[in-house]
Symmetry: C2
Subunit: 348 residues, 2 copies
DNA sequence: CTGAAAGCGCTAACAT
DNA sequence: ATGTTAGCGCTTTCAG
């Protein structure tokens, strides 16, 4: 029977059964929308549920059905602590979509250098999630370790080599192309590219888009046009990459930075060296993170709907969980060119 | 017995008991660190646990102990969607501290205009949390509705009238004082104040700090020195508040905005009207949100450690949950003056 | 179409 | 100090 834990009456399935004059089994069937329940009983039971304001206990359900109603969300510590709200936004997207699908998201971080043998997130050990969403680049040791638990995995903005999982990815190639096309349209002929962590699939693809468009346009993009040896796509790396690039190539009139953080670093370098943006050099980034709005000049960039990525991931996870079919899907989230003030025609 | 759900062997307490040659009760006692267990058995059991890589199922534990190991985190939709990562940061703080305390955070939003009778977050209905953290201003109907479930509540950056709950608050009065003291020290005598939502306790306190310092310094702060009738502490309101303030008072050489968002709005207004910052008018904000770094000039402000607030909230919640003592505590998180380029001596 | 009953994995009296 | 046992609230065969 429901109990008066302290003050509040919390009805259980038994109370509903009694009120509706049926067995608990019947109530359960109604709750779970089973066929083979007569409309009348269904009505009767639902009325009782309503009346008592009954809601099944998660843990009781979980225990017997081996479904927790939770989805894990894994992020590396690095990404978690990043000041730009990139992954945070994605997380909020999952949160948002999860509510519609009656899930809860359990967020956790792992060490950025997770190694085989390291302790896995508690929610996998305790079997407290039905599936896991992994956002951003993670060590493959993590993935290997997770595989043992055969929980469905969905990746966002990253994917492991093997082609075994559903993924939500930015349309990076298309983004790279749009960025460079925009610069070419403005009349630029010497367009540089700057990247950190060039082995990251997303960055590689942006570079790919860059090369494709230049090739098509018959413009050069040899070694003197790009700097891709920075470790991280962070501001300070953007700064030093800009320095390297401009040291080796004076002709450059526009720079495509692989993300906004690096673009901001580039801007800083240019300002310090009295190079005017966009008069002397145009610059375009990628990601459209919030800070861009307060930059001077406002940064042109390629925009991605971060929350949409999270929503798509939940959608995929939901399909996997509901259909029990492990159909592997890749979702490409579209990108959009945002022209602000950092890109202009070349002045000389 | 543990099962081979699909491939993986998932040990249960029975498996551990068998391996260690004890009863499940004993295993349970060991897990829960009960006294009255001989060192030998403890060792034996722990060895078996290690060996089998056993972890108790959350839901099984939850069902019997009526503890879920989850803490709910409630935010209004408005706050959830705000572009500045203010509440997000607080959330990350709770997330961070929760891990240390073996909790999971379930984040959810409620309509900003939640009314009595509206559907409560699912985690309270399903009894899926042991306590709730509420961040930012929420409708009191929500609080009233939650009270029926008598779950421990902890408030962050807001509190209801009655003095019934533990709270984590910014030291707003001290922040307001520091901001104004800094301006006075620079030589300002005509210092304006701008606020939105002046009935919010935090804003009120910042205003309070402003008045206290001016009073002490023997400077005036009559009606011509402040604008507090804006609804929201947002950029556009900062803009229009600045307009109002400068219309009615031409002497002002410095403005204290109740938060950074409004300060940014003020800056925008000043720029558009060719009023130089800080030469003509100094400006200082409150919050130290990320965007400040890219502002021109960089905004002086009062900084609050957002993550610390989240951490403190979990600490309070943990105390309540572990000690079962409902000792009401208020934690004041300290603030720090950050002088950047938007504050300077008055030039005339 | 509905009910009886077993049991999910764990905890907590109560025995021993 | 440890074991026995009865449930926690729910789902799910299996009978009827």
């Amino acid at each position: 029977m429901g109990k008066r834990a302290t003050e509040v009456f919390v009805p259980t399935i038994k109370d509903v059964a009694k009120t509706a004059n049926v067995s608990t089994a019947t109530v359960s069937l109604v709750i779970n929308n089973h066929e083979r329940i007569s409309p009348e009983t269904r009505l009767k039971v639902n009325k009782a549920i309503e009346e008592l304001n009954y809601h099944p206990f998660r843990s009781a359900r979980g225990l017997v059905s081996q479904k927790t109603g939770n989805i894990g969300f894994i992020l590396t510590e690095d990404h978690f602590l990043r000041s730009e709200p990139f992954y945070t936004r994605i997380f909020l997207g999952t949160e948002f979509a999860a509510r519609e699908n009656e899930f809860y998201i359990l967020l956790t971080t792992i060490p950025s250098d997770f190694k085989a043998g390291d302790r896995l997130p508690r929610f996998v050990l305790e079997r407290n999630v039905d599936g896991i969403i992994i956002a951003g680049k993670v060590p493959c040791d993590l993935i290997t370790a997770l595989e043992k638990y055969n929980l469905p995995l969905v990746f966002i903005d990253y994917y492991p080599e093997n082609n075994k999982y559903s993924e939500v990815l930015i349309d990076n190639i298309s983004g790279g192309k749009k960025a460079v096309q925009c610069l070419i349209k403005l009349g630029h002929k010497d367009i540089g590219f700057i990247a950190g962590d060039i082995h990251h699939p997303s960055i590689k693809d942006r570079f790919q888009g860059y090369k494709m468009v230049l090739e098509e346009a018959g413009l050069s993009y040899d070694l003197n046009y790009y700097v891709t040896d920075e470790d991280n796509p962070a501001r300070e790396n953007g700064y030093s990459a800009a320095k390297k690039l401009l040291k080796k190539n004076e002709k450059i009139t526009a720079i495509f930075a692989c993300n906004d953080a690096m673009a901001i670093g580039v801007m800083q370098y240019l300002k310090e060296n009295k190079i005017k943006i966009p008069d002397d050099i145009s610059i375009i980034g990628f990601d459209n993170v919030e800070a861009d709005l307060s930059l001077d000049p406002p940064l042109s960039t390629i925009s991605v709907e971060k929350t949409d990525m999270g929503i798509e991931a939940i959608r995929l996870m939901n399909e996997i969980l509901k259909n029990k079919v492990k159909t592997i899907k890749k979702v490409l989230v579209p990108v959009e060119l945002i022209c602000r003030k950092s890109t202009e025609q070349p002045k000389n």
